[in-house]
Symmetry: C3
Subunit: 184 residues, 3 copies
């Protein structure tokens, strides 16, 4: 396959991956839209000062400082990560992402999330609650925005996760596109 075809294929794949729900792509317009980043450092036994999360459960034979051997299957992680408006971890935080995820596949890496954004900035005050699956190797993953408090009272929507960066197994950064389709 020539270089030109490779490039065409590459862009085709990017396009194909760029929407998890093509059938609904342009049908609905969000009533509110936020783009936020959160930054996580998992405790690995030595990074206590920097860690924003910790493994608190593991399958038989595994421990709480090393992610479990089969693609982390069986680990539960509790986190409390800074949220920023851009992808720079040194930007002023606008809130905290708090909750948990668990790794639920042995032959690839997928996680299931239950957490909240607690926002406290001039733009937004309140919490947003999320649940849903995160197959981390897909370019985008949609989870559910099931409700919130304060500025997000009774709201519903979809949050699209993208991995903005990962450095080793114990640090990653997620971009979260929150689109509300039901606002009150």
């Amino acid at each position: 396959m020539g270089a030109r075809n490779s490039i065409v294929l590459f862009f085709f794949m990017l396009f194909a991956l760029s929407s998890a729900s093509p059938r609904h792509k342009n049908k609905y317009k969000p009533c509110k839209h936020l783009v936020l980043y959160f930054h996580e450092t998992v405790y690995n036994g030595t990074n206590v000062a920097d860690a924003t999360s910790a493994i608190v459960a593991a399958p038989q034979g595994a421990n709480l400082t090393i992610l479990a051997p089969q693609n982390y299957f069986g680990n539960i992680v509790i986190f409390n990560d800074p949220i920023t408006l851009d992808n720079n971890i040194h930007s002023k935080p606008v809130g905290r992402a708090q909750g948990f995820y668990l790794y639920d596949t042995k032959d690839t890496i997928t996680a299931w999330f239950g957490f909240s954004f607690i926002l406290n900035s001039t733009d937004y005050q309140g919490s947003i609650n999320f649940i849903g699956p995160n197959p981390v190797f897909e370019k985008t993953r949609d989870i559910s925005v099931v409700e919130g408090s304060g500025d997000f009272f009774m709201h519903r929507g979809v949050a699209t996760l993208r991995t903005d960066a990962f450095e080793g197994k114990y640090f990653f950064k997620l971009r979260v596109d929150i689109k509300f389709y039901e606002c009150w």
Copy 2:
């Protein structure tokens, strides 16, 4: 009590158990309806090749290969189970059920579920998110369908769980009737 009365009583009990929400029985019609099955084999220390789930947390004194002594109270189980269109575990899977449940009663068996169906078939593409209580000895149990992605974008509904089969403590099969009452 005579045999005839016993039979009448039996059918009366079946009827009484057959609806968890009689007051709403015929009032609303679902806008979408799916019936699916999922099949779970819990890791018990010896069945590593077949296991689709694992105990990852247990109360003080219990371990991760034997369900906890008081009706499993205090266990958290992470699962990744095949979903099929009928109750045959050998049927071609149409997706995976991924997430967790925890056992939360000492004097009977009840669980609390948080999980997703990830469907990938010619009929349906997308995920469906569930949370709610599962009192396993009731004939039917209703949990919440809080939203989804792809074909289930912003949908809401109710999922009725039925135990289709269980074989020992480490294998069970659930029938899931998913009725969406809010479709987008």
Copy 3:
């Protein structure tokens, strides 16, 4: 600062704390409103007869009978607590609160809840599902009522938590104001 100013400041603070979402304070009226209490006693290694909950996961170095050292960060607790109509633990229970919470902050106490109320009284039959963050030192905290079954079929709303009492680290009582804004 004089006594009079202190009192004014005190009432001002009470007022400021009394609503987590002032912008929405009077805009919407609930279609259904319940006030309930639940009572929790965490297992601490010696109170097995009274305990209604247990620590089932802990961070590295901690155990399952003592709440973790950094404001309980990293603990997961499974609970099954009696629900009453008033704040008296000896009142007749109208149901059970079943599910889990996890502690997710090191420098203060905050929790993330996923649970259900299973109500079984002359007034209400059915379950109500909740998720959301609980920053325990705030006077009120709003979590999401994402749906239910029976009398709460497809309902959505907000639950405001207040700490009615705590006695030591292993007993607390929460008042829950459940306001449904979407009834079916």
